[in-house]
Structures are given as C-alpha cells and as structure tokens.
C-alpha cells in the first residue's frame, strides 16, 4: 500500500473519532441502532464535506487557496519575480479567474508529496493542482474528487546514449534510480517482473538527486514520469548524451482535485479546466477572444457567455469562461508556454493533444 494512504487512513480514523462524538447525536437522532452503526461511515464522509459551500467560503475570503508542488519544472515553480508559473499554476489561476475575474486572487500553498492530501482534507486549501495521479484509491478511499486531467503523463526511462540500449526490456541487471514512496516504485517492480528481468534499485528522494546520480554514472537508468525525465534531460549540459526510451510503462493522468461531497465547487474547478480545453477546440485564444464575441459559432457564443446562462448555473458571473481565456489563455496556450516544444522541457503534445489531433484530450460539450 502507498505510504501516504496508510497515513490518510489514520487521519480519517482520527477525524471520525472526533466528529463522531460531536455530530453523531444531532446527525442521527431518531434513527435505529443498526442504521447508526452503518452511518458512522457516512459521518466520516460528512466530516470531510464539513466545508460544504467551498465556493461561498472562497468568495467570502476574497481569494482562492490552491495547493501546488514545492517546485516542479513546467508545472509549478516560482519565477524570478516570485510569481508561480506552470501548467498547474495556470490551473489555479483559471479557477481564481472564474470566481473573481482576477488572476491575482489566488494564494499558492506549497505542498509536498506527503503533505498534499492532509492539507486538502483539513480544508487548508480549496483545491490541489499538484501533478497528482488520478487513481481509484485516491479518488474513492481518500475522499477526494478528481475533476479532470490537465496532463496525461506516464512513467518512462532515461539512459545514457552510450549504454546502447533501445528498449527498456534490454535493461536486465541494470541499476535503477528510483524515487521512494511513489507509484513509480511499484510500476517499476511490476514492469521488470512482467518481463522476467532483474534490476537493482538505488533509492533517491528527489528528482535532483536522481539527476545527479544518473549523470555521475551511479545508476544506469533513471525512471520517473516522462515530464520529469524531460526536465532532467533539459538540465544536462549536453542533452544529446541522454536518451529517453520509447516504453511508457504506466498511466499517470495528472489532474486537479477537490474534497468529496462539495459538488458545486467540484463543478467550478471541472469546468474551469474544461473551458480551457473547449476553447482550444473552438480556436478561441487569448488574442482573438474579443473578436470571437461576435462569432457565428453557437458553442463559442455559449462558452463566452454571450448566449445562455451557464455562469449563473455555476453561481459565477456569465463571462467567467471569457475571463479565463482572456487572462490565462486556452489549454494549448498554457501548454506551449510552460511545457511545450519551445520551452527547455520540449515535451511534444502526444497524448495531450486534442482528440481531433491524435491525442486523448476531450472535454464534454458546452451546452
């Protein structure tokens, strides 16, 4: 079992105990005993949704609290002026724009792989956009709700070109640098077992450590998500000396998540992401968005709030999607600026291209 899941279960258990005492009597008054027992689990869920009305909380507070990573190239990292930049940072800003119409109304809370879930569960942040893989246990057992995918990642391998390996199946007996306590560790074990080959693990804590170990030749292979490999390769003094192998051995759909039970807030975050994807699909960019206000495509008009009252449904202003596109841009703009081929990371669109362009990025219709 994943380390942090055990940790979270412990937390849920504690929280259950506390809330049971406080709320059980009011909550279950008049119910029969059998039902009471069964409902303890419902109370646990209730405990997590105790902040129901996150949207109102955010509006009253005047800014969004968004959990991001402490620094991952292309996803979230402070730039030279101290502003957070990256794909995940844009996700946070898009939600802030949807709620307030102002991209600066967001406070970034840095979280680590270990602290991210408790931080969200305890209500310290309203949402997480922290390159977090959507898995069944996180979605169901931890009491969170993944509202979409803003980056399809997958675990890959990087080796020195001089090693002369062209496929990961040739890596029998290799020393592999692997981050401990992550899903990548488990994927690696599965992959090598499936292919009947052996490896020696060199445990590391951070991406940086993996990079240094690989560059110094202490391990033959470095494995992590493909996006991480790209940033590692970009950091090398001579990127051509390193090669990313073609095998992608896992599905790592990374996306924003919120607490279970507050569907209104979940909808706001989900559609903030979808609006960016739909905007790309419709060819609406931050530059042409004003011109598109008089477009003759019905879905564009619906998206930009010229027609329909979709903003009202979400309890947002009607131009929320217009503001997102105007201030942040569509998905493609955010992608190209942060991780795309023109950035040092040079990550091709691949799976993250629209479904119409060979990828799997697909947002439900805006109607």
């Amino acid at each position: 079992m994943h380390k942090s899941i055990i940790w979270i279960n412990l937390l849920i258990w504690y929280r259950e105990a506390i809330f049971e005492k406080r709320y059980l009597n009011n909550y279950l008054n008049g119910e029969n005993n059998m039902k009471k027992l069964l409902s303890i689990f419902a109370v646990a869920a209730f405990a997590f949704s105790a902040n129901a009305g996150t949207l109102d909380d955010v509006k009253n507070r005047g800014f969004l609290k968004c959990g991001v990573t402490t620094g991952l190239a292309g996803f979230a990292a402070p730039d030279d002026s101290g502003e957070w930049a990256g794909l995940d940072a844009d996700m946070c800003r898009a939600v802030a724009v949807a709620v307030f119409g102002d991209r600066s109304k967001v406070e970034f809370i840095t979280t680590t792989g270990k602290s991210r879930f408790p931080t969200l569960a305890s209500g310290e942040v309203d949402m997480l956009a922290r390159n977090t893989t959507w898995t069944i246990s996180r979605d169901v057992n931890l009491g969170f709700e993944f509202v979409g995918v803003n980056f399809y990642d997958g675990q890959g391998f990087m080796v020195p070109s001089a090693l002369g390996v062209s496929s990961a199946t040739e890596l029998d007996g290799a020393t592999v640098c692997i981050q401990t306590g992550t899903t990548t560790e488990l994927n690696l074990a599965d992959f090598f077992r499936l292919n009947g080959i052996s490896y020696e693990a060199l445990p590391i804590e951070t991406n940086d450590e993996g990079k240094e170990n690989l560059f110094a030749g202490r391990c033959d292979v470095y494995t992590t998500d493909a996006s991480g490999l790209s940033s590692t390769r970009a950091a090398a003094s001579n990127p051509d000396k390193w090669k990313v192998l073609p095998e992608i051995i896992s599905k790592e759909p990374l996306g924003p998540l919120v607490r279970h039970g507050d569907h209104q807030w979940g909808d706001v975050v989900r559609w903030s992401l979808n609006a960016m994807i739909i905007a790309e699909e419709l060819g609406v960019t931050s530059e042409n968005v004003d011109a598109q206000m008089s477009s003759n495509v019905p879905e564009v008009l619906r998206l930009l709030g010229v027609e329909g009252n979709y903003g009202e449904m979400l309890e947002l202003s009607n131009d929320w999607a217009y503001q997102i596109i105007k201030q942040i841009g569509n998905y493609s703009e955010s992608y190209e600026a942060n991780v795309g081929p023109d950035t040092p990371l040079e990550i091709a669109r691949g799976l993250n291209a629209l479904w119409t362009q060979g990828g799997i990025l697909y947002a439900p219709p805006f109607r």
């Binding site: 504690y14 990573t69 620094g71 190239a73 101290g82 840095t110 305890s122 310290e124 940033s231 003094s237």
Partner: protein, 377 residues
C-alpha cells in the same frame, strides 16, 4: 670564573618559522609525507575551485557581455570550455533567497527587522557595550516588535506567513526555536531533577517522548494532525505550527544538555547555598544555574547549530526556507541544471551563520574561563 656567562640562544631548528615547520609539519618522515601529500592535493584543488567560483565565473554578465536571464546564457552552457559557476542565478533570485515572496513594497519591514535583530544580539555578543542594560531591554522586547513588523498589525498591513520564505523563514525558525527553547529547557531540566515525583515524571516523559521521535515526525504532527484536532474555524498558521514543533524539539534537547551541566555541579555547592538559607529558586538562579550553564556552553551551541541546520526539514511540510527557495529555483525552466551554484550558495549562507555561532561560543568559553577545574577539589 669571572667570565660572563654567555646567554645561549635556543637552537635555530626549534625557533621561528623553520622551527615551527619542523615541529608541526616535518617532525618525522610519516609526518613529512602526509604534509607533502596534503600540499599536493591543495595545489591541485585550490586553483580549480578559485577558477570555478571566481575567475571564470559569471556574476551578472556572460563572457559575451550579455546580462544573464536564464541558464542557456551562462558562459559554461554557451561554451563548456569557457566558464565556471553561473552566479547570475543567485543575483537574479537574491530577493527570493533573502525575503521569499514578501511583497516588495513592504520589504523595508523585513530589513528593519534584520537590522533590529543585529541590534538585539549586540548586548549578548559584546559584554563591554556601553549602556548594555538598556540594549538588553530592547533585546527582551525585540520578539514582540519583530512579530508586528513582520506579520502586520498595529497599523502595518498584514503579510501572511505564506509569503515568507528564504533566509527570513530560516532565521525566524532558528532564532525563535533557540531563544524559546532555552528557558523551557532550563525549566524541564530543573523539573526532571526535582524531588517532587509528579513534576519529575511529567518532565521526564516529555523529554523522552520528544527525544524519541525524529523532528520530521514532529513537523508532520504539527502540520497535519494538529488542524484535525482543532475545532473547525480555528485556523492555526502553518508557520506557527512548525515553530511549535521546532521549539518543543529543541527544548527537550536543551533540557538534557543543561541537566548534564547541573549534574556536574558538586553537591557541596547545593549544600553551601542551602546552609545560607537560600530558597530553591534563589539557590538555582544565583548559585547553580550560572555555573551549570557556563560549563554547558559547548553542547548548548552544538544543539543550537544542529537546530539551525535542521530547520531545512520544513521543506517536507511545504514551507520554503532558504533551501526550499533554492529547490524551487531549480524547478524553474529558466534555471534548470544550476544545482551546484544554488547548493553552494545555500551552504555558504548556512556556514556563515553556524561558523559565527561556534566562534561566539569559543569567545564565551574564553571569557568565562570554563576550562578551569571548577569545584572539584
């Protein structure tokens, strides 16, 4: 014999530079071999490190004279033959390293706080300071001033601790932890040696529990578990939670250090104080503690330095201290791959502070002559 006795000089071989060299570096052949080997290593290493850190390094401009704004413009990335360290990253990010994300318009407050910290430390560092008493009063109220100055209130706009970072967080954690842990540690140490079983048991339990778990566990507890125990609506600041954890941790260690000092005081001192009719507190404050603390200076400074370095662990709970800002910088696509420069700079800053602390403890030891064999006769 009435010839004047000639005053004979010591042999040339034992005085002056030559004598010093012979005694210290070339005493016998193994000694000489080691000396030559070390000289050879230094000869190989020092020019290289000087070249890398200073002579071929970029400070703000690369060798083409352009101002460096990202790692691709560093001389060594333009031409691997031609360039050493790329300090431009430190130059560009200096603000973040020192203040974190503190708003630029309010940053004078941090500067004032830094200056006041120096002023508050002055009477502690320099005993012969004129009007030292008044300076000490300032030192006592400094934490209150610093709180309002940094955090806001009393007419200052509030700056949430989420915006603090870099050296600011490192210093706040280190100074508060060390300053608060000292009195708490003394109380715990006295408590543990107390003859009242309840007090001694509580103190012992506390110390053993805190010492028995790693700092990371305490940080996690403070960061993750505490909010779940607190009632809804009470929002304890993240930095405060970490401060509590750090202070508890440090006070347990401090308590044991001071207890060591207390145990070294011979029973005669206690008996003498008691026979003069002193109360428990007067005895401890006037007779026992001054001696005990004096002989515990080296381990006190030791644990303080340890704590100062341990503050880097707060990255685990998502607070960006000096090291955290360094790592964040490394995650910026503009500055990928400059880890040597950043880690070098961070360690240099830490070294300056910890070395300062250790020099100060040496100065104190010399001043208080702790080396004497006190009371043992």
């Amino acid at each position: 014999m009435n010839e004047m006795n000639e005053v004979r000089k010591p042999p040339v071989a034992t005085t002056g530079i030559i004598g010093w060299l012979r005694i210290n570096l070339f005493f016998n052949w193994t000694n000489s071999l080691i000396t030559l080997f070390v000289i050879y290593c230094l000869y190989q290493f020092i020019p290289w490190i000087l070249d890398w850190t200073i002579f071929s390094a970029d400070f703000k401009y690369n060798y083409l004279g352009e101002q460096i704004t990202n790692q691709e413009m560093c001389s060594r990335n333009l031409d691997p033959e031609n360039g050493g360290a790329c300090w431009a990253v430190i130059y560009v990010r200096f603000y973040q390293f020192i203040y974190g994300f503190y708003p630029k318009v309010e940053v004078w407050r941090v500067n004032v706080a830094y200056a006041m910290l120096a002023l508050a430390l002055l009477p502690l560092l320099y005993a012969k300071l004129p009007y030292r008493k008044y300076f000490l009063y300032f030192t006592y109220i400094f934490p209150v001033i610093a709180y309002f100055l940094l955090n806001g209130g009393l007419g200052f706009t509030e700056v949430s601790t989420n915006k603090w970072g870099g050296l600011l967080v490192t210093l706040v954690l280190g100074c508060t932890g060390i300053a608060l842990a000292f009195p708490i540690g003394i109380m715990l140490a006295l408590g543990r040696r107390s003859k009242l079983p309840v007090i001694s048991m509580i103190c012992t339990l506390f110390i053993e529990f805190i010492r028995g778990v790693p700092l990371i566990t305490l940080l996690f507890f403070g960061m993750v578990m505490l909010p779940l125990f607190l009632p809804e609506g009470i929002d304890m600041d993240g930095l405060v939670r970490v401060l509590v954890a750090v202070t508890l941790f440090q006070s347990a260690y401090m308590a044991e250090v001071i207890r060591g000092g207390l145990q070294a005081i011979p029973p005669g001192q206690y008996e003498a104080a008691k026979s003069l009719g002193m109360s428990y507190w007067r005895m401890n404050l006037l007779i026992i503690l001054p001696q005990a603390i004096r002989i515990s200076i080296p381990p006190i400074v030791n644990t303080s330095i340890g704590l100062f370095k341990d503050t880097t662990l707060v990255i685990i709970v998502g607070i960006l201290d000096l090291l955290g800002i360094g790592r964040g910088t490394l995650a910026d696509t503009n500055w990928l791959g400059l880890s040597y420069e950043i880690y070098f700079f961070v360690s240099l800053v830490f070294f300056i502070f910890t070395f300062g602390m250790s020099r100060y403890s040496l100065y104190l030891e010399k001043k208080l002559k702790t080396g004497i064999n006190m009371g043992a006769d």
